[in-house]
Subunit: 462 residues, 2 copies
């Protein structure tokens, strides 16, 4: 370890509490990108970050408005290190909605420390992990007399949780301004506590709504029950025709392009410390796990496509009884896609199939809300080697290579538009409650993440 | 027509605007019985009515608290007419929730007159129709020097829309205090505009919730999709096993006790002015009508049981996308029952069947919210004859006998506990939007209803 790297690590260790306090201030801003009433908060979070990027020494810091009219990107760079690679640090400052609020032990936007964890919406996804990048850069600037060991671009978006339309537009239209050698992303998790992990594959997705309209207005089920179509019953029939009770998706052609993981990858997965019964009990908590027969949980969640229903707005959802036959009902349905499936093609298969199974008496329409491509990234480059070494120094153990079940849409854009290898080096834990009540970030991992990033960026520039 | 009856009719005609203004004041009180936050409003509506009953001349007026702890009953009587029957006037002052609010042309609790109609939640169901009784009694008191042509008990409940537990308790435990010769109810509709109608049968119901629990907490569908059970998908499979696409209910034994209408009744229904295509277009507005094959719309809505889903709370129902696998989801499901089906028996059949079809991976529980017995009432008595004559005087046409698809739970209690014949003499119209946005009462029917009631009560005492 060079003297500067050691100094940066020391600086980070000496400022741990301040780093956490700053993160708490950011977490207090409810930057929920999907809710229009929080648009002002989303922008406030962007400004908070831009201000910090300027303070630590990045240049050209600005909020970038996109042609798609959504939330701004935060950009900053430092590009004065000759003969060194350029690393594009990506993160996102928007968060998921916090509902159901009554299941949070402490309020989602009032960060609270308990048992070594920091609880708040966005703690780990992704404000906390994005903040590790910022703090690693701050430490490196401090230890290198206002310079960095590598060239850096920082690009942080505010629409990751709603499909990332703005950043996709920016990468597509202005990709030349992002010329780099590597995209570095901390928005994934470690396979197990203390086990450094690189994520080398992500599922894609399409998120859709099926809207079913029956009667022209809401009707009384006493007067009209037996004559008026019921949109929820129609949706139930549609859903059961989309996915059978064994978890198999019934859309014709859906599995045609699915590519299986290599035998080598499957073998490595089998060697991971993973117990399905322990996972069921401690992470899922359901009476049984479900999904396609013949595949392990890791295969089902990393390498098999799925279909889920997220909510069914419409009708009466208050306490007690209302005997309404609603005029319309909606099912929010997403599918996770795996390598070689093409989101646009799957959406067309799905849309045609839904049209073909629409029950009589109702009008059915299908909308695409957003989509993301499935991806796999190469592990055969110098950056992966440097990352593995950096994390070995911090965790004193070898890195495992896993895939993620979720989507980070921008990774596909980086690969397709910028031919950029991507390093997904995340420090979340499997029980961090992403997108759920009581989201948290294990603070030890926040600090170890910063150290790992300091060491990795130093090595990448050496 | 006696001189006093003529004077009462004249009084009512001279006070039409005042009667409507009073009704508007009552409609401004959002007495939504199912929503705990409106409990104060429900009581305010009860006090409003009690105050008016006292003013017009009824005695022993009081709010009756029930042992079931719900909303109070309003009671009043006048029992000084010897050798005359006693009529128990029943109505309800509670209303359904007003959602979806954005579909109302004018706000639900700001009564508005348009095109001869009065628009407000409760306009016809049942505040407006209950108010006809009060105003007919006021006119009769006025025209009879502070007396009435019959003995009257008034009993108005505040829990009709939530199952009527309180009044059921009162009738069961204190039925002796309600000794009468007839129950008079105006909570039904006319078969067509200008066509006086008596309702002689009602469907019963059970209103239930099925709750499905999968994971212990809400999970991210990216990370857990393919392993964690989805409660909405489970509910979809349950619902499709409860009711097939042809509208047939699949619960074993469900149809066993269903009694068909008599050949005579079916013949009378065929003679009613009813066009299924016109009904589809003007009342339902769906692309097609649905329901069991082989039965007419009137049979399906009056004499066949049904199953409807009213709402599916759980998960994410906001705008946009949230990729949650919810820990639980609920389906609000009711069944309409027809004569000889027994609500408690059907609930047990249903509950056992749901348990037997529960998908793997989830816990399923079934709750009964409330129930009502199906009923048919006799048409062979003096009161029916008097009602037909009274309405002939007002509408100049013969009364038709119909059934209602909805439930008025108290009718079953009156029959079973008090052996009381019931006259269901309602003045709503089929397009009055009961339980839906833009509920209305045709004001001409409000006034003709009052006249019909004046004439009927005069005749009943003669």
């Amino acid at each position: 370890m060079s003297q500067n790297t050691a100094a940066a690590v020391e600086f980070a260790r000496g400022n741990q509490q301040r780093f956490v306090d700053e993160l708490k201030a950011l977490l207090r801003i409810p930057s929920i990108s999907t809710l229009p009433e929080h648009a002002g908060d989303v922008r406030r979070a962007a400004e908070f970050i831009a201000s910090e990027l300027r303070r630590i020494g990045l240049e050209n810091v600005s909020l970038v408005e996109t042609a798609t009219g959504g939330h701004p990107l935060v950009y900053g760079d430092w590009l004065h290190k000759e003969n060194a690679p350029t690393v594009l640090c990506y993160g996102h400052y928007d968060v998921q909605p916090a509902e159901p609020l009554d299941e949070w032990t402490t309020p989602p936007f009032e960060p609270a420390e308990r048992n070594g964890n920091l609880y708040a919406r966005g703690a780990v996804d992704d404000k906390g992990q994005m903040w590790m990048h910022v703090k690693a850069l701050e430490a490196l600037f401090e230890a290198n007399q206002g310079t960095l060991p590598v060239n850096i671009r920082v690009l942080i978006e505010g629409e990751e949780e709603v499909g990332g339309e703005g950043i996709a537009w920016f990468v597509r239209e202005h990709g030349g301004r992002l010329r780099s050698d590597l995209a570095l992303i901390s928005d994934t998790e470690m396979f197990a506590p203390d086990l450094p992990t690189l994520c080398v594959g992500l599922r894609g997705m399409i998120y859709t709504e099926i809207e079913v309209r029956g009667a022209a207005i809401d009707l009384h089920s006493g007067m009209y029950g037996g004559a008026a179509p019921n949109p929820f019953v129609a949706l139930a029939h549609i859903i059961t025709k989309l996915k059978d009770e064994d978890g198999r998706i019934l859309i014709p052609g859906f599995y045609d392009k699915v590519e299986s993981p290599s035998a080598e990858e499957l073998k490595a997965w089998k060697a991971l410390p993973f117990d399905e019964e322990h996972y069921r009990r401690t992470e899922v908590g359901s009476p049984e796990l479900t999904g396609e027969a013949g595949y392990s949980v890791l295969e089902r969640t990393w390498a098999r496509p799925t279909l889920d229903v997220h909510g069914m707005p419409g009708g009466f959802i208050g306490a007690g009884a209302k005997t309404v036959i609603p005029a319309k009902a909606v099912a929010k349905i997403s599918m996770r896609l795996v390598p070689k499936q093409v989101p646009a093609e799957v959406f067309e298969q799905y849309k045609s199939f839904v049209a073909s199974i629409a029950p009589r008496g109702v009008d059915v329409s299908v909308r695409l809300i957003h989509s993301a491509e499935p991806i796999v990234v190469s592990t055969d480059n110098q950056f992966v080697k440097a990352a593995v070494e950096a994390m070995h120094e911090v965790f004193a153990t070898d890195t495992v290579f896993v895939r993620g079940g979720g989507s980070i849409p921008i990774v596909g854009d980086f690969i397709r538009e910028l031919s950029l290898p991507t390093l997904m080096m995340g420090f979340g834990l499997p029980d961090d409650n992403l997108h759920a009540p009581n989201e948290k970030f294990h603070l030890a991992n926040f600090h170890r993440g910063i150290e790992s990033l300091i060491r990795f960026l130093s090595a990448a520039g050496a």
